[in-house]
Every structure is written in structure tokens, then in C-alpha cells.
């Protein structure tokens, strides 16, 4: 046996020979998520730099710190909803690994529903800021940084919901057998990443004054 062959292991899902013991698809998702750390790191850093650069909502008024405009109890509930969606996602992965297709679809639907609740909350929050409090995207550097950071995260959640619904439909058509459980796991990795990013955003943007 050659040295190369000695270090290779077989990916159980696809029968591919890989030098890491991980399938190419799963490795690719992890590389993508590692690169996403840099994207969100940039957006969070920008917010930290600009967070104090606020302007009055009306000419001549007082420039309130950003956090005084936030509804912390509301956002806390949204954060809890997103955390629970991570639990339902991991239960969906667990279900398909057992061959429980009905369980997979149920937990995928719950995850997509919780994600939709989170996004709806974000829309409501943005609506309140823009129309009631008068803080739009171009109001001040602090608000621009806030909208870009949370907006990018919201876009990631929306893409995640589309992926969940796609997985749900594929499962309905019988295209996700137990042997393809890793496909659901890869969607789950993306979803959990969106959750861990929010864990940071919630603390840095909303809780730290």
C-alpha cells in the first residue's frame, strides 16, 4: 500500500476517497463558513467603529445613542426564537439519520417557521426605526452600519429559509433517502452558522452599550 492510500479514508456517504475522511461537500461548506467569519467580522468591526456616530432624528434635536432606540425585550424574544430554530434544525438532521422522514419534514417546517418569525421581527423593527423614529439607512454612519450588518444577517437567514424549504420539498418527493442525510446536515451547518453570527450581533449591537 502506498503512503497516499494509507492516509486516505472512505467517505461513507458517497464512497469518495478523501484524505481528510470528510466528504468534499461538507468540507466545502466549512471552508465557506470560515470565509463568512471574515465577512461578518468586517461588518461587525465597522459597526463598532461607527456606533457612536449618531445624529439627531430631527434638526436641532438631541442625538440619542443608538442603544436607546432599541427594543431589547423584543429583540431578546427574536434571539430566543432563532436559538430554538437551531435546536429544531439539529433534530431534523437527527431524524433523517435515523431514517425518520416524517420527523425530518416536521422539524424542517418548524425551523423554517421559526426563521420566518425572526425575519418578520426584523422587518417590524426596521419599519419602526424608519417610519416611527426617523432613522433610515442614510441617516447617520451609526445607523448605516447597523442596517448593513443586521440586513446582511437577515439576507443570510432568508437564504437559509429558502434552503430549508427546498430540502423540505426534496424530502416530499423522496429525493432525500437516509443515505443522503449529509445533505441535510450541510444545510444545517449553514443554518447554525447564521445562528452563531446572531449570537455575536445580539451581544455586540444590542446589549453592549
Amino acid at each position: 500500500m502506498t503512503d497516499l492510500a494509507a492516509t486516505q479514508t472512505i467517505d461513507p456517504e458517497h464512497g469518495h476517497l478523501t484524505s481528510t475522511g470528510v466528504s468534499n461537500e461538507k468540507l466545502a461548506m466549512w471552508v465557506f463558513l470560515a470565509s463568512e467569519c471574515l465577512l461578518f467580522g468586517g461588518l461587525i468591526s465597522t459597526f463598532v467603529l461607527y456606533r457612536s456616530k449618531v445624529l439627531p432624528s430631527v434638526p436641532g434635536g438631541e442625538a440619542l445613542p443608538l442603544h436607546e432606540s432599541f427594543d431589547i425585550p423584543f429583540t431578546s424574544v427574536s434571539s430566543f426564537v432563532l436559538l430554538m430554530s437551531s435546536m429544531s434544525m439539529v433534530l431534523a438532521v437527527s431524524a433523517i439519520q435515523r431514517g425518520d422522514h416524517r420527523g425530518l419534514r416536521s422539524w424542517l417546517a418548524v425551523t423554517a417557521l421559526l426563521g420566518t418569525v425572526f425575519i418578520s421581527g426584523q422587518f417590524y423593527e426596521f419599519y419602526e426605526f424608519v417610519t416611527v423614529k426617523g432613522f433610515g439607512l442614510t441617516h447617520s454612519p451609526a445607523w448605516s452600519a447597523f442596517y448593513v450588518l443586521t440586513g446582511f444577517h437577515g439576507a443570510h437567514v432568508t437564504i437559509g429559509i429558502v434552503m430549508l424549504m427546498g430540502t423540505f420539498l426534496l424530502s416530499l418527493r423522496g429525493r432525500i433517502p437516509q443515505e443522503r442525510a449529509e445533505a441535510v446536515e450541510i444545510v444545517g451547518l449553514y443554518w447554525h452558522f447564521v445562528d452563531v453570527v446572531w449570537i455575536i450581533v445580539f451581544t455586540v449591537v444590542y446589549l453592549i452599550k
Partner: protein
């Protein structure tokens, strides 16, 4: 029977890798982790409502440090349990945490460039005011 299928049958592998030799997590464990995350979030929010006032020095360190500590715990718990890093091959942990460390170092350097840590600094001030200022 091919070598690949032979290995598959012998390992009985159905999904998540167990490259670290950890036992496979159970649904009960996932629910317990979710409850713990919910509790930590509640403590975090309560912590932010404590009467810190305009905390400075040690109090500011306690306020911000406490929040960052709880945030880090939640991050690691989700990554290790829900994302299976604790149970999967070590290469995935190394890959992800290296990317995270790189991001932290890059942006700490960036914030340092903008004198974020200087006393009295409250962030980046543009050299020219924005048009509507």
C-alpha cells in the same frame, strides 16, 4: 463487493462522522443544550439591565466582559454541539476555528489602526464631515 462498500458495512456509518471517537449525541442532549442556551440568553439580557450607570474601569470591564464571556460560551456550545464539531473529524474544528481566529486578528488590527483602543476614542471620525452634518 468493493472495498468501499465493505468498509461501509463494517462501520455501519449512517451520517455524522465520529472522527474523535465521541459517542453520538442524542435528541435529549440537543434539547438540554437548547434550554441551556435559552437560560444563558436570559442571564445575558438581565446582566445588561443591571444598574451599571456610566460604568468605568472595573465596572465597565465587568459589564462588557460578562456579556462577551456569555456570548463566547453560547458560540462555542452551538458550534461544538449543534454543528457537531465536538463529534466530527478534528480537521473541521481546526478549519473553522482558524478562520475565526484569523478574522478576529484581522479586525483587531483594523480597529487598532483606527485607534479604537485609545483613551477617549469613541470610534472612527471621518476627516471630512458627512454632507448633511
Amino acid at each position: 463487493m468493493s472495498d468501499a462498500s465493505a468498509t461501509l458495512e463494517s462501520t455501519g456509518h449512517t451520517g455524522t462522522g465520529t472522527g474523535k471517537g465521541q459517542s453520538h449525541p442524542t435528541d435529549k442532549m440537543f434539547v438540554q443544550v437548547a434550554i441551556a442556551l435559552g437560560v444563558i440568553t436570559a442571564v445575558e439580557v438581565a446582566w445588561s439591565y443591571l444598574p451599571w450607570g456610566d460604568a468605568t474601569g472595573l465596572m465597565a470591564f465587568a459589564e462588557v466582559g460578562g456579556l462577551l464571556f456569555m456570548m463566547a460560551i453560547k458560540f462555542v456550545v452551538v458550534a461544538s454541539r449543534f454543528m457537531h464539531l465536538k463529534f466530527d473529524q478534528g480537521v473541521l474544528s481546526r478549519l473553522f476555528y482558524f478562520g475565526l481566529l484569523l478574522a478576529i486578528l484581522v479586525y483587531v488590527a483594523t480597529l487598532t489602526t483606527f485607534e479604537m483602543w485609545s483613551p477617549g476614542s469613541s470610534g472612527f471620525t471621518p476627516s471630512t464631515p458627512f454632507p448633511h452634518v
